[in-house]
């Protein structure tokens, strides 16, 4: 469950997120779409407590994100846009350290880790260093880690970027499954309109820090009088190619991921 009220984030003179209001209900699969630099990642960072907003209020799972950071952190799982495993540790160690940080009772740790490793098909690679894994395998470990502490809400920031078709379909199948079986609320961003259309129960489009439209993909197509979500998206955000400031570190991280 997410509630955003008049949320803004400014970096100096640049306004990344401009007074947005948004509500995501328990059990929804919500897609947050927008061109590069629209404010998607900035919003996710604020919701996941790693960036503080300039103005506004946020609530996640009933907890105030600013005042009650630790409660929010306990109740969410995050799959970041770029790599966030420790490559020098094994898959098991990465998950075990996560279990400790999230205060999973000692007795349950190993059983849960094995269950999730089995779930992502990497139980036999349990004790291999993550640096020996492919990009897709690393992603799967990150998914297992994000689910390890049974969060009520999962955030995924461009989770399918750079993944092969198999890993992508694996990821979405499992996201749908955990949403259905465990009622975990899903909030994700993507550049792939097909994914959003197929997976999401509701969609919002953000551009230049402002929310342009919100609704089911059908509602969005009706409102914009277009035939596909992609057309609707282009109509709402224009055809100009966005410039994203070059970031060396980002490029370096991406390279390492492969």
């Amino acid at each position: 469950m997410i509630k955003l009220k008049n949320l803004s984030k400014r970096f100096g003179k640049f306004t990344a997120v401009d007074n947005i209001n948004l509500e995501v209900k328990e059990g929804e699969i919500f897609a947050f779409l927008g061109p590069n630099g629209a404010g998607k990642s900035t919003t996710i960072k604020m919701l996941t407590t790693v960036l503080s907003p300039s103005e506004g209020e946020m609530e996640v799972n009933g907890y105030d994100v600013i005042k009650n950071k630790n409660k929010v952190r306990e109740s969410i799982g995050v799959i970041f846009q770029d790599h966030s495993l420790d490559d020098e540790l094994t898959a098991y160690e990465n998950l075990y350290y996560h279990a400790v940080l999230y205060k999973i009772p000692k007795k349950e740790r190993n059983a849960r880790i094995d269950k999730l490793l089995n779930y992502i098909g990497l139980l036999d690679r349990k004790n291999n260093l993550v640096k020996t894994f492919s990009g897709g395998m690393k992603r799967r470990v990150e998914i297992a880690r994000g689910l390890l502490h049974s969060p009520r809400q999962l955030f995924l920031d461009e989770p399918t970027i750079g993944l092969d078709v198999q890993t992508r379909s694996f990821l979405w199948d499992h996201i749908k499954k955990i949403n259905k079986e465990q009622g975990i609320t899903i909030f994700f961003t993507t550049h792939n309109m097909d994914e959003a259309e197929k997976i999401a129960t509701r969609i919002a489009v953000i551009d230049k820090g402002r929310i342009k439209i919100e609704g089911t993909s059908r509602q969005i197509m009706e409102k914009t009088k277009t035939g596909t979500l992609e057309e609707a998206f282009l109509k709402l955000t224009g055809r100009d190619i966005r410039e994203q400031p070059a970031d060396n570190h980002e490029a370096m991280r991406k390279r390492r991921r492969r």
């Binding site: 960072k45 970041f80 770029d82 790599h83 966030s84 940080l101």
Partner: protein
């Protein structure tokens, strides 16, 4: 709470032990200084009537090993920032102060370990323990000093994004700290203005503590040395916590 500190501590040690190059590379510099100065300056030192140079030099070289490796522990934080693992710890329901303590204890442990390896090698150079009762206290001080400088390196690293700039910046800071600390020569012979720098250099008091426990002669009162080290640690701990609480991604 303790769990989070312990797990961060363990992680720092594990990643250190898995990098054999780091271990070997970090020993090369102190050994070079040990050999070059020990054999080069030893005879002059002894002719000047200051006693056995190796006995004087070893605490300084231990101090150097600790200073360099501890400050460079900050690199691990920058690495984690660049390659993403930091984010995983920042969204975890753990107070940041525990992450800082765990990381710094881990870094201090590996630096102390390096100091002990250099100490072991120095026995081959003819170093003799002056007072066995004080020897374990010396090891304890090595850990204390390691923690102090790991805090320093980590606090600075929390404000630095550039992976390549950090070691260069740190060298610029730790080289003078090392040379003007009495690690290689007694500071009472320094010209007055350099002596003044040595007096305000925290490393001077760290080396002095090691002289008390592992060497023969010290320059200041024990209370002054301890006061400087503990006072600085408290100050850096406050600064480090402040910086850590403000890391955003």
């Amino acid at each position: 709470m303790i769990d989070a500190i312990a797990v961060m501590w363990k992680r720092q040690i594990k990643t250190y032990l898995r990098s054999k190059h780091r271990l070997i590379g970090s020993l090369a510099q102190p050994l070079l200084f040990l050999v070059a100065f020990g054999f080069g300056f030893g005879p002059i030192f002894e002719q000047a009537g200051r006693g056995n140079y190796i006995q004087f030099l070893i605490p300084g070289i231990i101090g150097m090993t600790i200073l360099f490796s501890s400050v460079m522990n900050g690199m691990s934080l920058i690495w984690d920032k660049q390659f993403g693992f930091l984010k995983e710890t920042l969204v975890a329901p753990v107070p940041r102060i525990n992450l800082l303590i765990g990381r710094c204890l881990g870094g201090a442990t590996t630096s102390t370990f390096q100091g002990i390896v250099v100490l072991a090698i120095s026995f081959l150079m003819g170093y003799k323990v002056v007072n066995w009762a004080l020897f374990p206290v010396g090891i304890l001080f090595m850990f204390l000093i390691s923690f102090l400088f790991t805090l320093l390196g980590t606090s600075i690293a929390s404000k630095v994004e550039d992976m390549l700039a950090f070691p260069t910046m740190m060298n610029f800071m730790i080289m003078p700290m090392f040379f003007l600390s009495g690690a290689l020569f007694p500071i009472d012979n320094f010209p007055s203005f350099i002596h003044a720098i040595a007096i305000i250099n925290p490393m001077t008091y760290c080396v002095d503590l090691l002289h008390y426990t592992l060497g023969t002669s010290a320059s200041f009162s024990f209370m002054l040395d301890m006061g400087v080290v503990v006072g600085l640690m408290v100050l850096l701990f406050m600064i480090g916590t402040y910086c850590f609480n403000r890391i955003e991604t």
